[in-house]
C-alpha cells in the first residue's frame, strides 16, 4: 500500500512538473521583411517573399539585420514564466496545414522548422527572449529552415509546437504589416502593431517601470491607505488563527474533561492515601511541617504517574542525557592500578 501511494505521489509530481515549462513560451514580436511598394528597385515574388539581395539595393530600406549583417524577417519568442526553460526540440511553423489533427507527426515535421538541441542559447531564463531569423539554417541555431516564410504585405500565421510536433504552444496571426513595422505582444497578452522606432528585438516590448510603486506614490503619498490595508491583512490573519484556536481549544478542553474524569479519581485517591500514609508515618520532620513533606511526595508521585512533566507547556526542563562524553565509564580518570605480576615459578 505504501509503495502504491509513493508511486501515485511521484506520478502526481511528475504530471505537475510537465504541466509547466514549454507552455510558458509565447510569440513575443514578429518582424516581416518588406520594402515600400513604390520602391522601383525591389519586388516581391509570387509568394510575397522579398529576398535580402533585392532589399540591399533598396535606397531606403526599413529592416533589421541578422548577425551576418543580412536583412531578415524574425520571430521573437519569450519565456513568460519566472523559471528557466529550454526551447530545444520545439518547432516553429508558418503553415496552417499543421492544424489538421489527422496529419501524422512526421508529416507535420516536414512543414516545421526544428529548434536544434545542443546550443545553450536555447535555454531561456524567466522573462527573457530569443529571436530567430527566417532562412539560412546554415548560419546557426538562431536561423530557421527555409520552410518558414513570412510574406510581406499580407497576414501571416505563426505557431510554435512542442517537441512532439502535435501540441500547440502558441500561435498568432500577424496582420499585413507596412515595411519596418513589427507586431508585438504587450504585458496584458494583447498584440499591437509597432512602428520601426518602437521595435525591440531581444528586449521587452514595453519600457519597464514599476507601476505599483508609481501608483502608491501618486495616490497614497502619506501612506494612510497602505497602513490601513496592511494592518487589516495582518489583523485578519492573526484573528482567523485566534478564532480557530479559541474554538479548537474549547473542543479540546471539553474532550479532556470527558476523558479525564475517570482518570482523576485514582490520582485523588492516591494523593489522599499519601496524605494518610504520611500522617500515620513517624517521619522525623526536623521542624519542617508535615504538610510540606506530604506535598513533595504527592507532587513526585503525580509527576511519576502522570508522566506529563516533559511535555508540559511553559515549563523548561533540563533532562540529563548520558552521552559518551558524560559517561563515567568513558572518563580517563580511573585510578591507575599497579598490576604486579608475580614471577612464575
Amino acid at each position: 500500500m505504501k509503495k502504491l501511494l509513493s508511486i501515485i505521489s511521484l506520478f502526481a509530481v511528475a504530471i505537475s512538473m510537465s504541466a509547466q515549462g514549454a507552455h510558458d513560451f509565447r510569440i513575443n514580436e514578429v518582424f516581416v521583411l518588406g520594402c515600400p511598394k513604390q520602391c522601383p528597385m525591389t519586388a516581391a515574388d509570387d509568394s510575397g517573399y522579398v529576398s535580402p539581395s533585392m532589399l540591399k539595393s533598396c535606397p531606403k530600406p526599413e529592416f533589421y539585420v541578422d548577425e551576418y549583417g543580412e536583412p531578415a524577417s524574425w520571430i521573437e519568442i519569450e519565456n513568460t514564466s519566472y523559471t528557466t526553460h529550454d526551447l530545444r526540440n520545439c518547432f516553429i511553423t508558418t503553415d496552417r496545414a499543421v492544424l489538421d489533427k489527422s496529419m501524422s507527426a512526421p508529416d507535420r515535421e516536414q512543414l516545421m522548422s526544428l529548434i536544434p538541441a545542443g546550443d545553450p542559447r536555447t535555454l531561456i531564463s524567466g522573462k527573457q527572449r530569443l529571436t530567430f531569423f527566417t532562412g539560412h539554417r546554415n548560419r546557426g541555431t538562431l536561423h530557421t529552415t527555409d520552410v518558414i516564410r513570412l510574406k510581406a504585405g499580407e497576414p501571416n500565421w505563426i505557431a510554435i509546437y512542442d517537441g512532439n510536433a502535435v501540441d500547440l504552444l502558441d500561435s498568432v496571426t500577424v496582420p499585413a504589416l507596412k515595411p519596418g513595422q513589427t507586431y508585438a505582444r504587450l504585458s496584458d497578452g494583447t498584440y499591437q502593431v509597432c512602428e520601426a522606432s518602437e521595435a525591440t528585438p531581444n528586449a521587452p516590448n514595453q519600457e519597464y517601470h514599476n507601476d505599483k510603486i508609481r501608483e502608491f506614490k501618486e495616490k497614497d503619498p502619506h501612506g494612510f491607505a497602505m497602513t490601513l490595508m496592511c494592518m487589516a491583512v495582518v489583523f485578519t490573519c492573526l484573528a482567523i488563527l485566534f478564532l480557530f484556536f479559541q474554538g479548537f481549544g474549547l473542543i479540546i478542553a471539553k474532550m479532556v474533561n470527558k476523558v479525564a474524569k475517570p482518570v482523576v479519581q485514582p490520582v485523588v485517591n492516591a494523593s489522599e492515601r499519601v496524605v494518610e500514609a504520611a500522617k500515620q508515618a513517624s517521619i522525623e520532620t526536623k521542624g519542617i511541617p508535615m504538610e510540606t513533606y506530604t506535598a513533595v511526595i504527592g507532587l513526585a508521585l503525580h509527576e511519576y504517574f502522570g508522566g506529563t512533566h516533559d511535555i508540559e507547556s511553559g515549563i523548561l526542563t533540563i533532562n540529563p542525557h548520558p552521552t559518551a562524553w558524560a559517561d563515567k565509564s568513558h572518563e580517563l580518570r580511573q585510578i591507575p592500578q599497579h598490576h604486579i605480576q608475580t614471577p612464575k615459578k
Binding site: M231, V233, V234, C237, L238, L243, G249, S313, G314
Partner: protein, 381 residues
Amino acid sequence: MDFVATKFSDFLTYTGFANVEVANIIMIAVGAFFIWLAIKKDFEPLLLIPIGLGIILGNIPFKAAGLEIGLYEDNSVLNIFYQGVRQGWYPPLVFLGIGAMTDFGALIANPKLMLIGAAAQFGIFGAYMIALAMGFEPNQAAGIAIIGGADGPTAIFLSSKLSPNLMGAIAVCAYSYMALVPVLQPMVMKMLTTKAQRRIKMKSPRQVSQTEKMLFPIVGLLITTFIVPSGLPLLGMLFFGNLLKESTKTTRLAKTAGSALNDIVVMLLGLTVGCSTQASEFLTLDTIKIFALGAFAFIIATASGVIFVHVMNLFLSKDNKINPLIGNAGVSAVPMAARISQNEGLKADSHNYLLMHAMGPNVAGVIGSAVAAGVLLGFLS
C-alpha cells in the same frame, strides 16, 4: 636591484595603508564599537560580534585590482557568502531555526494574545508614513519601516527585494535596535502604564495538548499563506521548523535546524551584512535617516502593543485582565521583548511572573511581521 625596488613599491600600493580613507577608519571604529557593546555590555553578542567584525572586514582598504577578495567582487569568497543575503536565502533559513526553537504553546493556550502581536505591527506602518514624509520612495520606505517589526531576517528579506541599495544600513539598524530593546522599551512601557496596571496578575495559561501544538504550524501555514502568498518563504520555513519540533517524530532534524544550521546561517548572515556596510555606501545622510526612523519604528511598535492591551482590557472581565506590560512583546524580538515584560513585571511586583504570558504576543509578532513583510512585498514589488 631596480627590479626589487619596483616590485616592492608596487606591493606597497596594494597595502591597506596606501588605500585607506577617513571613512574606512570611521567604519572600522563603528565595527569595534559593536564588538565592544557585545562583549562588554552583553548587547546581543550572537548578532553584534559577527556584524561588528563584518563591518571591520568590509572596510579594510585595498587596491581594486581584480583580486576577487572584496564583498562586491564576483567570485570572491565573501561574494559567494553574500549571495545568501542578496538573493534572500539566509532569512528563510533563520526562520526555519526560529520555528524549530519556538514553543507556540503560550499562544495556543491564550489565543487572544495573537491580536497584540498584530497591533504591534503598527510600528512598521507608522515608520512607513514617517519615511514617506521624509522623502523616501514607497519601496524604500517599506524596506526601512520593516525595522519596526524588530525582526532582522525579515528586514533583510524585504529590503533585499524592495530597496537593495539600502539593505546594509537597514540590516545593521534592525539588529542594533534589537540589541537596544532593553533600553528603548521599558521607557515607553512605563510612560503608558500606571503602577496598578503593571501589577495586574494574569491567570496561568491552560495546559496545551500535543495535538494542538502539531496542528498549529499546519493551520497557521495554510491561513497565513493563503492570505499572503508573498510571505511564503518566511512563513513556510517558520512553520516547517515548528512542525519538525512539534511532530515529535523528527526531533533530530528540529535540533539541527534550531542549533547547528541556525548558528551557521546567523554567523554568515551577520558577517556578510556587516561587510556590506562599506564606507562609501554606508556613510550617507540616508543612513542617519534610517537610524532615526528605526528608533521611531521601535517606539511606535512598543507603544501600539501596550495601548492595544489597554483597549482589550476594556472588553475583558475583571478576572481576565491582561497586564499591559506584555504589550511590548508584540514586536518579534524573541525572546528579548518577553524578557523585558518579565523584568518590568517583577519590578512592579516581585511575585508577578509575566514571561510565559509575554511569549504569546512575542511569537505572534514573529508571524505578524512576516505577514506584514509579505503584504508590503505583494503591494510594492
